[in-house]
């Protein structure tokens, strides 16, 4: 298998889906002529034409609203919101309309759409272009939520998302587009389930998206001293937590690493579940390692300091497992 990038894996998923199913359409700002703000959809407009690759005005609420209407009437729209930071403009369409239609209408009208977007830090893009807002979506029954952290998942999860009968929010990470890897012939784990990225008996680290990569780097550095089991949550809503709980019951320790503001985050949800389900197996409380509870500052140094990295994950892991206190806890 040849190496490709996260970006190209996404493109490939879109191409394959659009080749296979002519009801799939793309719509969003700059998805056509420009090729996508992060270059994911380059060439799509030429290949599929303006009826299927639709450049829109800068009207996020109506983009999502239009996608909903298209989904209700037989198409499979993949709408794009350029930054997840703009979620605040579309949460009504997303949470009150897309997520609730099937339920409110007694099962009659599904909304099989994908909302593609990207989030996270790494580009000094400041407080309104660097957020991780998946917690808002995870708190919304009726939405599905995926955040791929590997190249293979970028492909397979997006393909799976485009086959779902329900709305899927698909959040990419701006810091992963150039990451290289292989697209597996089959998905690393079934749709909707976590993937165990590394086996180990000392500590379970749960993560997803870019923080998965930081976690894997840390796990590598920790081995063989500390054997880390790395669980990639991938599909956050509805969350199949079984594999994570199995892991924590084996290791007795759980660290959850995310990039979002920690308070009321996905990490908090995972921690709550771990303590509910693994209480008697825990050697240590489940710990959250997340973004600081602040807006993202533009200064590159401050931005970096505001979220976890492999080094910090290592520090906490060593302390949790081996009681080695890091320098910052002196």
């Amino acid at each position: 298998m040849t190496q490709t990038t996260y970006r190209d894996a996404l493109l490939q998923a879109l191409l394959d889906a659009m080749d296979a199913d002519e009801t799939v359409i793309l719509m969003g700002e700059e998805v056509g002529l420009y090729g996508g703000a992060y270059g994911v959809t380059k060439g799509m407009l030429d290949r599929f034409g303006a009826n299927r690759v639709i450049d829109t005005p800068i009207s996020e609420p109506a983009i999502v609203g239009a996608a909903i209407g298209a989904a209700m009437t037989g198409l499979r729209p993949v709408a794009e919101i350029m930054y997840v930071d703009f979620a605040g403009m579309v949460m009504d369409q997303l949470a009150n309309q897309a997520a609730k239609s099937r339920y409110m209408f007694g099962g009659q009208i599904g909304v099989p759409m994908v909302l593609r977007t990207q989030g996270g830090t790494g580009r000094s893009a400041a407080a309104q272009h660097s957020q991780s807002l998946e917690a808002w979506m995870m708190h919304t029954p009726g939405l599905r939520l995926c955040m791929p952290g590997t190249v293979s998942d970028a492909y397979h999860l997006l393909r799976d998302a485009m086959r779902q009968p329900d709305p899927v929010v698909f959040i990419e990470h701006k810091g992963l587009y150039t990451m290289k890897g292989e697209i597996g012939d089959v998905p690393d784990a079934p749709w909707g389930q976590p993937a165990i990225r590394r086996r180990g008996g000392d500590l379970t680290i749960a993560s997803y998206s870019r923080m998965l990569q930081e976690t894997l780097t840390a796990a590598e550095a920790l081995a063989p001293e500390i054997e880390t089991e790395v669980v990639d949550l991938r599909c956050l809503n509805p969350l199949d937590d079984g594999p994570l709980m199995d892991s924590v019951r084996r290791t007795g320790r759980c660290l959850i690493v995310t990039e979002a503001v920690t308070t009321c985050s996905v990490a908090s949800e995972i921690a709550a579940r771990v303590s509910e389900q693994c209480f008697d197996w825990l050697e240590e409380p489940p710990l959250r390692l997340g973004g600081e509870d602040i807006p993202i500052p533009v200064s590159p140094a401050l931005e970096r300091a505001s979220i976890p990295d492999a080094r910090l994950i290592e520090d906490v892991a060593r302390w949790l497992v081996a009681r080695e206190a890091p320098s910052w806890a002196a």
């Binding site: 609203g65 909903i68 009437t73 309309q97 409110m104 209408f105 007694g106 009659q108």
Partner: protein, 334 residues
Amino acid sequence: MTFANDAPLARYRTMRRIRTFEERVGELFLKGESAGSMLHLSIGEEAVVGLTDHMAEGDTFTTHHRGHGIFLARGADPMRMLAEIAGREAGYCRGKGGSMHIADRGLGHLGANAIVGGGIPHVVGAGITARNTGTRVVSVAFFGDGGMGQGILYEAMNMAALWKLPVVFCCINNQYGMGTRVDRSAGRQDFPARAEAFGLRAARADGSDVEAVHDAAQAIVEGARDGQPGFMEIDAYRFHGHARMDKSPYRTPEEEEEGRARDPLATARTSLADDTLLDTIDAEAEAEMDTAMKTAIAATPPASDTMFQDVYDPSTPAPRPQRARLADVLEERA
């Protein structure tokens, strides 16, 4: 008795059925059989039938919270509507949606909406579907004058104009958004001018005269079918309070009297002039709605486990009830 479906007499009949239906909704509430009090009657707005009569099978639409009449005009079964409003399993949405969330995919109803403006952009997407699949389907968004305050309307109108979609935006201006008369919510009240500024074909019609609405709507709906999106304002009056608890203390009795004089049913009766026939139609409507009402009230509420159904498609496991979650935790520690 029979008469051509798209004719003044048929329109009178539909308007009468709507009015009688809405009266029954009011009674349902008084009997304590409705699910809640958020019931918005469309009495006074029946002339919307002048527009819906240009819609064909397969056409789709979304409505605002005051959508009973529109859906009846598009073929709804009054019993299933009343059952839904009563929160019964036999309702259009199995008692999950209620008055503000009635929908029926089969009849093209993509959903009533309790978010002012919430359903408007959906017709843009329906328009894309129509364009891409090459049908002649039109999709109509119905909303109130209050919806003119929502930015998403302008975003949607711009898209429809830009892409020349078979879409109509229909504003039923009943002069009020709750207690706010339209002159207290609109900087300028010429709504068709707003639509035109975005590139839509626009018209306004007198909502006390269903035939006038019908005439004006023709070019708008047929234009949309041909790819020229349109906007239509129907100028009406909200006869009653906003919802069932509102006595409209913010309007004068004189204003209400004047407003209620703009009655599309009275106008139609005068022009149709056949009292015997019209009385028969009225009586039929009463009988129909009485039966619907009885059946709806007799229907059973949904079983409590239906609560977990239809959050997702059945291919996804239903959400786990919290009692089951808690039982797991606690049993394990028993």
